[in-house]
C-alpha cells in the first residue's frame, strides 16, 4: 500500500514538474519539427494580417537621447510601414553581445536579425556561415546599391550573408589647437616626422597621445595602422600566404611593426598610466584637451567631436607609419553588418524589413543614414563628415589594408593584446615574444 502511494507521489511530482514547462512545450514541439511547420505559417495568404514579432540583437551602446536608431527609430518606422511587424531590438555592450549571441545560436534560440563582423574572427561572417547560422540573403533586392567590397567582405561561398553598416576607417584624431601651440604646422607624412611631432608636443609639455589600453581591444587601433604600412604594402597577400602556411606571424616585418608601436611607449609619447585608462576615459581626456592625439576609428566620431572642457578644432589623419618617400596606407574595413538567422521562422517578414530599410528612397533609410556613424557603402550617398576626407581619399586610391584580425581566428588578437599589455607594462615581453605568441595561436587554430 505504502509503496503504491510512493509511486503515485513520484508520478504526481514528475507530472507537476513537467507541466511546469508544459504550456510552452507544445509550442516547442512545433518548432522542433522545423521547416514544414513554418512553411505552413507563411503559406497562408493572410501574411499582412498575421502579426509577426522579429527579434534583433545588436552590439554597442544605446544613444543617450532615447532616439537610438536600432532600438527606437527602426522599430517605430517598421511598425508604421508594416503594421503587422513588431521589431524587438536589444543592444548589449560588445563583450556581453559576444557571449550572448554565441550561446543563443548554439541553443537554436538566436534572434532573427543580429550583427556579424566581416570575414573571419570572433562572430565573423565566414565563421558563422561555416557553422550554418547565417541565411543566404543574396536574393534580397538591395544589392545593386552596395559597393562591391562591402558585399564581398560579408560573403561566404559566393553568397551574401549580411548587410554591412558601412565602412570604418582607423586613424588619429588630433587637437589642432595643441598642435599649433607646439609649433606644428602640418600633418606628419612619415614615421620619422610623426615621432618628431610627438617629441615637439612632449617638449611643449603636452601629452602627445592618450590611449585606453585597459580595454585590451583598444591596443589594436594603433598597431593595425602601423602594420598596414609595414607588413602589407609590398605584400598584400601576406595573410593569404599565412593561411596557406607559407608565411608566419614571426616575420621580421611584424616584429618591426610591434617595435615601432613600442617605441611610442618607450619614448614616453603615450600618456602615463595608459594601462589603467579605459577607452571611455581616454576619449574624454582627448575632448578635454588633455592630450593632443588619440588612435580611434570613424565609429567614435560623435564621442570625439563632443564638447569637453576645452574647445578646439579636430583633425583626422592616418598614422603615417611609412618610411619617408613612400605613401601612407590607411586601415579601412567594412563595418559590422546585419545578418539573418538561418533558422528564422519569419524569413519573409525579415526580407520585407531589409528591402524597406535599405531602399535608398525610403524614409527609414534616410533616418538610418543620418544616424549611422560609419561611412556609407551605399552608392550615391556622399561622405557625411568632412573630417574624414583625407583618409577616405587614401582609401579611394586603393592605398588601404583591412583590419589585420579579420584574417585570423579570434584568439590570435586576444593573445596579441595580452602580450602587448605585458610589453607596455614593462614585464620583459619583447616584440619577438608577441609575434611568437600570435603565431603559435594562429597555427593552433587555423584549420583549412
Amino acid at each position: 500500500m505504502k509503496r503504491i502511494l510512493a509511486v503515485i507521489i513520484a508520478l504526481a511530482l514528475a507530472l507537476s514538474l513537467l507541466s511546469g514547462c508544459g504550456g510552452s512545450q507544445k509550442n516547442e514541439d512545433s518548432i522542433a519539427t522545423g521547416g514544414t511547420n513554418n512553411q505552413e505559417d507563411t503559406q497562408k495568404p493572410v501574411e499582412d494580417v498575421k502579426p509577426v514579432t522579429l527579434t534583433m540583437l545588436v552590439s554597442g551602446n544605446k544613444s543617450p537621447d532615447g532616439k537610438d536608431i536600432e532600438l527606437d527609430i527602426l522599430p517605430k518606422m517598421i511598425k508604421e510601414k508594416f503594421s503587422n511587424i513588431n521589431l524587438e531590438a536589444t543592444k548589449l555592450p560588445d563583450e556581453q553581445y559576444n557571449t550572448s549571441i554565441k550561446t543563443k545560436l548554439a541553443a537554436g534560440e538566436g534572434p532573427d536579425i543580429f550583427l556579424v563582423w566581416p570575414k573571419t574572427g570572433v562572430c565573423g561572417a565566414i565563421d558563422l556561415s561555416k557553422a550554418g547560422y547565417l541565411m543566404d540573403i543574396s536574393g534580397y533586392n538591395i544589392w545593386n546599391n552596395f559597393a562591391k567590397g562591402a558585399v564581398e567582405d560579408m560573403s561566404y561561398d559566393g553568397k551574401v550573408r549580411a548587410v554591412a553598416k558601412g565602412l570604418d576607417l582607423l586613424g588619429i584624431y588630433y587637437n589642432k589647437a595643441l598642435f599649433q601651440k607646439a609649433g606644428i604646422t602640418e600633418e606628419p607624412k612619415d614615421w620619422t616626422s610623426f615621432l618628431g611631432v610627438c617629441q615637439k608636443l612632449k617638449d611643449a609639455g603636452i601629452t602627445p597621445i592618450v590611449t585606453g589600453d585597459k580595454d585590451p581591444w583598444y591596443l589594436q587601433f594603433a598597431l593595425y595602422q602601423i602594420a598596414a604600412n609595414v607588413v602589407y604594402p609590398d605584400d598584400m597577400d601576406f595573410d593569404v600566404k599565412l593561411q596557406a602556411g607559407e608565411e608566419s606571424l614571426t616575420n621580421p616585418k611584424w616584429v618591426k611593426a610591434i617595435e615601432m608601436f613600442n617605441e611610442l611607449y618607450a619614448k614616453g609619447y603615450v600618456v602615463k598610466n595608459s594601462l589603467g585608462i579605459g577607452s571611455a576615459q581616454a576619449c574624454s581626456m582627448f575632448i578635454d584637451g588633455k592630450a593632443a592625439m588619440i588612435f580611434d576609428g570613424t565609429w567614435d566620431y560623435n564621442t570625439l567631436m563632443a564638447k569637453g572642457e576645452a574647445e578646439f578644432e579636430r583633425g583626422f589623419m592616418a598614422t603615417p607609419a611609412n618610411e619617408s618617400g613612400k605613401a601612407t596606407y590607411a586601415s579601412a574595413s567594412t563595418a559590422a553588418g546585419y545578418a539573418v538567422n538561418a533558422s528564422t521562422k519569419n524569413a519573409d517578414a525579415v526580407k520585407q524589413v531589409f528591402e524597406y530599410w535599405f531602399d535608398v528612397n525610403s524614409s527609414l533609410f534616410a533616418a538610418y543614414r543620418d544616424a549611422s556613424s560609419s561611412i556609407s557603402v551605399v552608392k550615391g550617398v556622399p561622405l557625411e563628415n568632412e573630417l574624414f576626407k583625407g583618409v577616405y581619399d587614401i582609401y579611394q586610391n586603393g592605398k588601404s589594408v583591412y583590419f589585420c584580425n579579420q584574417m585570423w581566428p579570434g584568439a590570435v588578437a586576444t593573445d596579441m593584446e595580452t602580450k602587448l599589455q605585458e610589453m607596455i607594462g614593462g614585464q620583459k615581453t619583447t616584440p619577438q615574444d608577441v609575434t611568437k605568441a600570435m603565431d603559435a595561436k594562429f597555427k593552433e587554430l587555423w584549420k583549412n
Binding site: 507521489i9 551602446n61 548554439a106 541553443a107 574624454s284
Partner: protein, 278 residues
Amino acid sequence: MSKKDFPKKILIHTGIILFLILNMYPLIIALSSSLRSPNNMTSPLNLFNEFTLESYKLAFERMNFSRSLLNSLILTIISVAFVVVVTSMSAYPMARIKSNVSKFLYLFFLSGLIVPGQMVIIPIVQMIKGLHIPSTQFTPILMFVTCSIPFSSFLYTGFIKASVPEEMEEAAYLDGAGLFRRFWIIVFPLLLPATVSVIITQGMWIWNDYFFNLIFISKSSQTPLPLAMLGFMGDKENPTQWNTLFAACFLCALPLILAFGVLQKYFMSGLASGAVKG
C-alpha cells in the same frame, strides 16, 4: 557605567563612525554625483554641491525602469518561491533519516556550490534545448532554482536537525497524518527562520544576477534590471556621464535598499540563524 568610561566611549564611537565613513565613501561619492545634472562634471569631491533628479530621470528612461523593475520582481519572486518549496522538501529526509544515502545526498547537493555557472553554461543551454524548453522570460528561473539548491538545502537541513524536534511529528504520526501533511502542516511552519534566511540570501543573488538573464532573455520588453544596467557598461557614446551611470546604479539597488530598510531585522537575523545553526 561610571563617568570614567565616557571618553573611552567617545573614542569608540568616533572610531566606528570614521571606519564606516571610509567604508561608505565610494558609495557616498557615487550618491552625490548621481544627484547632479548629467553635465555637471566638477570634481566629485565637492559633495552634494547640486541637487537635481535629472540624472535619475535620464537613467530611469534609458533603463525603462518600471518595466525592468516589474520583470525583476516577477523573476525573483517566482524563483524564490520555487526554491523554498523544492529545497525545504529536499532537506526534510536528509535531516531526518540517518543513513548513508542521506549523507551522500547532503554532500552531493553541497558539492554543487563549488561549480561556477560560467563554466557550464554551454552544456546547460544544450540540455535545455534538448528538453525542448524554449527560451522565454521564465527560462532563467530554472537556473536560479537549480543554483540555489546547494546552499538552501544546506541551510534547511542544518536547521531541521538543530531546531525542529522529531517528537512534534510523532504526535502527528499517531494522529494518523500522512507524510505530506506532516511536513507541510507541522514541520514547514517551524522552518520560518530558515525560510526567511533562504528568501533573503537567494533572493539577493537572483535579483542581482545578470549572467543567466543575458543568456536566455532576448526581448527588450522582458529585460530585468541588472541586464538593463549593462546597457550603461563602457558607455562610449557619452564617456563623461558618470552621473547618469551612478544614478542608474542607485536605481538598480534601490529596491533592495528599500527592502532592507523595511525588513532589516530579518535580513540580519535571517542570515545569522541560517548560518550559525547550519
